[in-house]
Symmetry: C2
Subunit: 442 residues, 2 copies
C-alpha cells in the first residue's frame, strides 16, 4: 500500500475510477467524453487533487469552467483528443545577475499540486520548478532555483527528513542564496519549522516554510499568494530566521510570518490555520505591498550557517489527562530517552503521575513539562504539584509549545553533554522558543 | 507526601516558614509581629494561598492593606493577640420560600480559597458555605444549599470523582433544586464538564462548573463575579445543560457560558482562559445585568435526571507527532480498551502509525480520530492517509475535541453493546459535542 503522494496519476481516485481511466488510456490534459446517468460531458481531464471526491473526475469545459462528474457503475469514458505533449509550458528564465537567487526546495503536500488556469495547461504538480512556474511574478523579484527534495504527505516527515532538508538548506544558503522557500504539507509544518530552527545555527538569511490549505486547482487556493509573499519577504526584508508564512486571515489580503518555534496549526482547514502562540506573528506581508514587523528578529548577515543536525529520535510527547494509567505510561516513558509532558494548567499532572515522572527522571530519562493550554506559561512554583515536580527533577518548559519542546529535547539530547548542560539548554531561550518572563499573565 | 489541598493550615509554605509559625503557635487570624532583616511588621496573619511565594507570609495591616513579608533565616515571629474564635461569620440565611434553591457542591481548587476583605475575617477557605458566604448577593437571588464533596486539586480528579460528583448532582436536581453550581479547579474542569455532560441524561435544570484563575485573596480574583453570575444564570435563564462559566474577557465585565463538551482551558493563567471550540459560547452573562444567548440550547423541564455514570477507565488519549515510536505506542494501546488519537490536520498519522492503528482495531480496541489542531473537523475522506484509516476501521471524531472524545469513548464503551453500537454513538451528536456538518470550513 502506498501513502506517498505518488508521481503517478489518478493516485487519489477510487480504484474503479482509476481503472476506467486507465482502460481508456485517458490522461490528464486529454479532451474526454464522459457518459454517466444518461448525460454526456465533454472537457479536458483535470488532475485529481487532494480535496476532490474519489469518485469524481474534474473536466475543464470549453467555457473554461470546471465541473465535477461523478462516475458510477456503467459510466463510459472515451478520449476525444490526446493532450499535446509540449513539455514544460514555462521556460526557465535566464539568470538575471541584477537579481538575488532564492532557492525553492519542494517537499510535497497540498501546495505542490496545481493546475495553471490561465493556459489551461495541466501540470503533474510535483516539480518545484512547475510549482514556481505558476507564480511567474516570482521571477520579477528574484532568480528562482527550484529543486524537489521529497514528495510526501507531511505526516510522514520524520527526523531523517528534517536532517536531509536542513542539509539542503545549508547547501543553498552557504552557496550564497538570499533565502530558502520550502513548500511543505501543513499537517506537520510546525514540527519541521521547529526542527530546522534548532538544526540551523547562525542563520545568515531566511528560511520560509510555506504551505497551502487548498490545492492549486481550487479557485480559493492560497498557494499562489503565499509563494509570492515568501519570495518578497526573502528578498525585501532583512530578517534571517526560520519562519512559516501562511495567510493571516481567511481572505487574500495579508500573510503572517510566524517564528518557526512559536507556530502551530490551529485549524484543520481554514487558510489562516496557523497561529503564533505566546507572541504576535513576527511580521505581516501585505499581498499588495509592504512588510510590517511586529517584534524583534534576527538580522541578515554575511556568515555561514552552522549545521547542527543531530537529534535523539527516541523522545516521547505525552498529553496528560485525568485517569491516565500510570503503569502503562511508565512503561512507555521507560522505552524512550527523553519525555515531554503536556500537562494541565500551569504544568500539572495527577499525584500518581508525579511519582511516575520522578521514577523516570531517576532512571536518567529527562522529563520536560509544558502545558496543554498552549497559551501562557508553565509555572511549577505556584502549587504543591508543581513543586513536587521540580523536586522530582522535572524541567519546566516555560512558555515553549509542547511540540517545540519535543523537538528541542530531541535536539538538546544530541547536542549537549550530561544532565546539567541539557537542563540549562532547555530552560534557556535558544531560537525564540522561550520567553524570559517566567509567567505570561494578563 | 500529600498532594491534596489539605484542610490543614500553612500547607503551601516552605517548610522553614511553616515550622517557624508552628513553633510560635501562630494561626491564621492571629495578630502577629514579624521581625526580619531588622524591620518589624505587625498585622493579622492571612491564609497562605496558591499564588503566594512559599517564603512569604501575608499580613493584613491596621490600614486594611495586605503586605507580603519574606521570612529568612533569623526572622522572628511572635503572636500579639490570638484570633477570636467565633465560628462562622455569616449565618446561614433562613430559607426564603419565594426563592428557588440552588445547590453549591464544592470540589476544591483555587476558587475554594478566600479571605473576606470587608470584615477582615479569615476563613479556612474550604467549606462551600464559607465560599458562598463571600458572595452574600447570591442570597438575594436564591436559597443556597452548600456542601463540600471533595477538596482536591483538579489534576487529581479521576473517573471515580466524576461518578461521585454526578451522583451528588442527581441527588440535588432530582430533589427539585433549580440548578447545581460546582466550584472546581480549572486544570481539568473541561474534562469534568464533559464527563458530567455524558453521565447526566435528560437534564431538567442546569449544572454550572465555575472556577477561578486567581484565589479569592487577590484583588483581581474572579471567584466572586463568576459565582454570582452562576447563581443568576441558574435562576434567571431557562437553559438546562452542563456548562462552564468563566470570565469572557480579562476584565470584570462579562462571563461566558460554555457548553460542557465544547470547552477547553486555552491559557495557563488568564482569567478568560476558557474558550468554546468550534462554536461560540452558548451565552454571555453581563456582570451588571442581562443574559444573552448565542445559540440553541436544551431548555429546563420538570423531569428527572437519568443517571448513566458507567465509564470504561482504560482509555488512552495519544497525541500524534512525527517520528513517534510505532512499537512503543502499539504496546501502550494494547494495554487499553479504547484509544483516542489527536492526529495532525484533518486527522492523520504517519504511515507506520496507520498500520499500528489497524492492528489495534483488529484486536477489538476501538480507535477514534480527532485533530490536534483543536479547531475545525476531522475529515478522513480527503487524503490517502485518511481513507486508509477509515479502511482500518478508525472512527472519525468529527469536530469533537480530543479531550471530549476521550470522555465520550470512556462513556460509550460502558454504555453500549458491541462495536456497531459504539461506532454509532461516537459519530452521533449526543450532548452537543459534535456538529452535523462533516467539515467546518472558512
Amino acid at each position: 500500500m502506498e501513502w506517498h503522494l505518488s508521481a503517478g496519476r489518478f493516485v487519489t481516485y477510487a480504484r474503479s475510477v482509476s481503472e476506467l481511466l486507465k482502460a481508456e488510456k485517458a490522461e490528464e490534459g486529454d479532451m474526454i467524453k464522459v457518459l454517466t446517468n444518461g448525460k454526456e460531458h465533454v472537457g479536458i481531464l483535470m488532475p485529481h487533487h487532494d480535496f476532490s471526491d474519489p469518485d469524481t473526475v474534474v473536466l475543464k469545459l470549453k467555457s473554461g469552467y470546471n465541473i465535477g462528474v461523478r462516475l458510477a457503475e456503467g459510466s463510459k469514458v472515451t478520449v476525444v483528443r490526446k493532450v499535446e505533449k509540449k513539455g514544460r509550458h514555462f521556460k526557465a528564465k535566464e539568470i538575471d545577475p541584477s537579481k538575488k537567487n532564492v532557492a525553492v526546495i519542494g517537499t510535497g503536500g497540498t501546495i505542490a499540486s496545481y493546475v495553471d488556469y490561465r493556459t489551461g495547461a495541466v501540470h503533474p504538480a510535483l516539480s518545484a520548478e512547475d510549482l514556481v512556474a505558476t507564480v511567474p511574478e516570482m521571477a520579477d523579484i528574484c532568480n528562482v532555483k527550484a529543486r524537489v527534495l521529497f514528495s510526501i504527505f507531511s505526516e510522514n516527515m520524520d527526523v531523517q527528513h528534517w536532517q536531509e532538508l536542513a542539509g539542503a538548506v545549508v547547501d543553498q544558503l552557504n552557496s550564497g542564496d538570499e533565502g530558502c522557500i520550502i513548500p511543505h504539507g501543513t499537517d506537520t509544518m510546525g514540527y519541521t519549522s521547529a526542527a530546522l530552527s534548532f538544526m540551523l545555527e547562525s542563520l545568515p538569511r531566511p528560511v520560509l516554510l510555506v504551505g497551502a490549505q487548498r490545492s492549486s486547482d481550487r479557485p480559493s487556493s492560497d498557494a499562489y499568494t503565499n509563494l509570492l509573499a515568501s519570495a518578497r519577504f526573502c528578498v525585501q526584508s532583512d530578517a534571517a530566521e526560520v519562519f512559516i508564512l501562511m495567510h493571516h486571515t481567511s481572505s487574500d489580503t495579508v500573510a503572517a510570518v510566524h517564528r518557526g518555534t512559536r507556530v502551530r496549526k490551529m485549524h484543520t482547514s481554514r487558510r489562516d490555520a496557523f497561529e503564533s502562540v505566546n507572541e504576535p506573528p513576527v511580521a505581516l506581508v501585505d499581498f499588495e505591498g509592504g512588510i510590517k514587523f511586529n517584534s524583534a528578529y534576527r538580522k541578515k548577515s554575511s556568515g555561514k550557517v552552522a549545521f547542527k543536525p543531530d537529534m535523539e529520535k527516541e523522545v516521547a510527547l505525552i498529553h496528560f489527562y485525568p485517569g491516565m494509567s500510570p503503569e502503562a505510561f511508565e512503561k512507555l516513558m521507560g522505552s524512550h530517552n527523553g519525555v515531554v509532558i503536556s500537562g494541565s494548567g500551569l504544568g500539572h499532572v495527577s499525584a500518581d503521575m508525579v511519582k511516575v515522572l520522578k521514577r523516570t527522571v531517576d532512571k536518567g530519562i529527562p522529563v520536560v513539562m509544558t502545558s496543554q493550554c498552549l497559551y501562557g506559561s508553565v509555572n511549577l512554583n505556584v502549587y504543591y504539584t508543581g513543586r513536587d515536580l521540580l523536586t522530582a527533577g522535572v524541567i519546566p518548559g516555560g512558555d515553549t509549545l509542547p511540540e517545540t519542546a519535543l523537538i528541542k529535547l530531541m535536539w538538546g539530547l544530541a547536542n549537549t553533554n550530561g544532565e546539567e548542560e541539557l537542563r540549562k539548554v532547555m530552560v534557556t531561550n535558544i531560537r525564540g522558543e522561550l520567553s524570559d518572563r517566567r509567567e505570561i499573565d494578563d
